[in-house]
């Protein structure tokens, strides 16, 4: 009869002030802080102004062969690249009112930003970085046509408001810290050997897993929904397709819960679990656009695609800004796969621990 265990575990988790703070208050604080910090950057994009940037090629390396393709891609993304063969870079930027300047030297490049237009500099850097990554993928520029196509796909940026962006991604990020939701329960169970009572009553490991998994998912989703509703009320965040977004957030929370439970099952130590979870989730968030927007971050796309948070963020942000996203399916599949694999591993580790302790 694990339904009563589930019911009471929900009560235990729901009554925790830490959970209310982490899943409702913290996302709202970060939405306010990050959306205002990145407001200029996002507005710059929204305004759709054409950025003017200069460039110089120092020698005849790969860049010289790719420059025409790069200029085309830049033009498609409202960045106008003009060559300046001579002159002091600082003077050129100032006199020509440029947003940035790029110096290509062999296979490397340097982007110069101005103090006044740092965001524009980041956008230029991102565009060039994405282009070079795609160029590498297309065998170092052997097929510039292929480069142009993949680069265009890689860095298409949807017009999204910073409040909408952070309103969405912070709810997802804190959902990934799901293990904290069960921390006090698990610590209490360990301290007072409550698990022994489940063993005496012959409650199997899969049932015990469900008795923790279901309440954690329920509480994290409830927290995410409340935070999302408050984000709409307080910041007017647009969540796009509400039901599809809810499904994505719910599955993401379920995946996060399974992941946290697996780590806890391996370590059997809540402090180790929380440190490991926060570290891994921080990296997933770092590459997934939880702090710096994924559109402008210069991280390699291959690493971004490894982060489940990237798929979830991108799906939700594009649903909000464009009404559709090709990342919906990858986001859902990623979450389902993590949930399934981590659940099985957590149960196996729990069963093995029962055998070891005896």
């Amino acid at each position: 009869m694990i339904r009563y265990v589930i019911k009471n575990n929900i009560k235990l988790m729901g009554r925790s002030p830490i959970n209310i703070f982490l899943y409702i208050v913290m996302p709202l604080i970060l939405i306010a802080v990050l959306s205002s910090s990145f407001d200029d950057l996002m507005k710059k994009y929204e305004e759709n102004e054409t950025l003017k940037a200069g460039y110089r090629i120092e020698d005849s390396g790969t860049s010289k062969e790719l420059i025409d393709a790069l200029k085309d891609i830049a033009k498609d993304n409202d960045i106008e690249l003009t060559e300046y063969e001579t002159g002091e870079i600082g003077d050129i930027v100032k006199n020509e009112e440029l947003s940035g300047f790029v110096v290509f030297d062999g296979d490397s490049y340097t982007v110069y930003e101005t103090e006044e237009e740092k965001e524009a500099g980041k956008a230029i850097e991102f565009m060039i970085g994405t282009f070079y990554e795609s160029a590498t993928a297309a065998a170092m520029g052997a097929d510039t046509e292929a480069v142009a196509v993949s680069a265009e796909e890689a860095f298409y940026i949807e017009p999204v408001d910073s409040t909408d962006y952070y309103g969405i991604v912070e709810v997802v990020y804190f959902g990934w810290c799901a293990i904290v939701c069960g921390a006090s329960l698990f610590m209490n169970e360990k301290k007072y050997k409550i698990k022994n009572k489940y063993i005496v009553a012959d409650i199997s490991e899969p049932k015990l897993y469900l008795a923790n998994f279901i309440p954690m998912v329920a509480v994290v989703i409830a927290g995410a929904v409340i935070a999302a509703v408050l984000s709409v009320v307080l910041f007017k965040v647009n969540w796009g397709n509400i039901w599809l977004s809810l499904l994505i957030v719910a599955l993401s929370a379920a995946a996060a819960t399974a992941f946290g439970l697996m780590l806890h099952s391996f370590s059997d130590n809540m402090v180790v679990t929380i440190i490991a979870t926060f570290t891994i989730v921080w990296f997933m968030g770092f590459f997934g656009g939880s702090f710096e927007t994924y559109m402008f971050s210069a991280q390699p796309m291959s690493l971004k695609l490894l982060s489940p948070i990237y798929h979830t963020n991108r799906a939700l942000v594009e649903l909000s800004s464009m009404g559709e996203s090709r990342f919906v399916s990858s986001s859902l599949l990623f979450s389902l796969a993590i949930m399934a694999v981590c659940s099985v591993l957590a149960i196996l580790a729990g069963t093995a621990r029962r055998k070891v302790r005896s």
């Binding site: 009869m1 339904r3 009563y4 265990v5 009471n8 009560k11 235990l12 009554r15 925790s16 006090s184 329960l185 209490n188 301290k191 007072y192 050997k193 409550i194 022994n196 009572k197 489940y198 063993i199 005496v200 009553a201 012959d202 409650i203 055998k355 302790r357 005896s358």
Partner: protein
Amino acid sequence: MAAILKTKDLTKKYGNKIVVDNLNLEIEEGEVFGLLGPNGAGKSTTMNMICGIVKPTLGEVEFMGKDFKKNRKELCRELGYIPQQLAIHGNLKAWENVELFTSLYGIKGKELTKVIDESLEYVGLLDKRGEYAKTFSGGMKRRLNIACAIGHDPKLLIFDEPTVGIDPQSRNFILERIKESNEKGATIIYTSHYMEEVEAICTRIAIMDNGKVIAIGTSEELKKMVVSDPSTITLEEVFLTLTGKKLRDI
């Protein structure tokens, strides 16, 4: 009386250390069986093996005439375990704690509601059913700990030092309840370091040391093992004579 519980050559080793050594116990139905021993004697490990928390290295446990390991699903409902630790949730109300642990034995719905009230009344906490366990005193928590283990009306109740750190009134209340449970038909296994408690409620007592039972019998029989006139010696003196005065947990 038939034996409700038998241990056959029950042994537990951790590495090279033998914690319980070929233990053969027979506990008869309806008795209050006391298990005494200094720290590290193997009492808790024995209890844990009987309950299925720890698997024996060798030997087996027969409960109600059946192999406990092979018939756990059926037999666990007849076993109530009151651990030394306060295995309750402070952030749950008294009734919620009882509901949580009683439901593990398949009791549900209206029956569960009835059992919750009966269990709380039994330990004198019915009027506190809606209060959080974290607000309870040590004695009340001990009583709640008992209420969480008796709701499914088991035939065998195992009490592992249930009166540690509580006032005499609470201790007396718990001992009275244990006697009452026994009178209603439950068999009791009871461990404690309080000799007068064991002497007061146990019909038979075993003294364990170094994983083995070194003496077993009624209080009188144990005393006669040491002196000819049992009225001249206390159970504690018998215990110290048999197990020695050397400190065990240094």
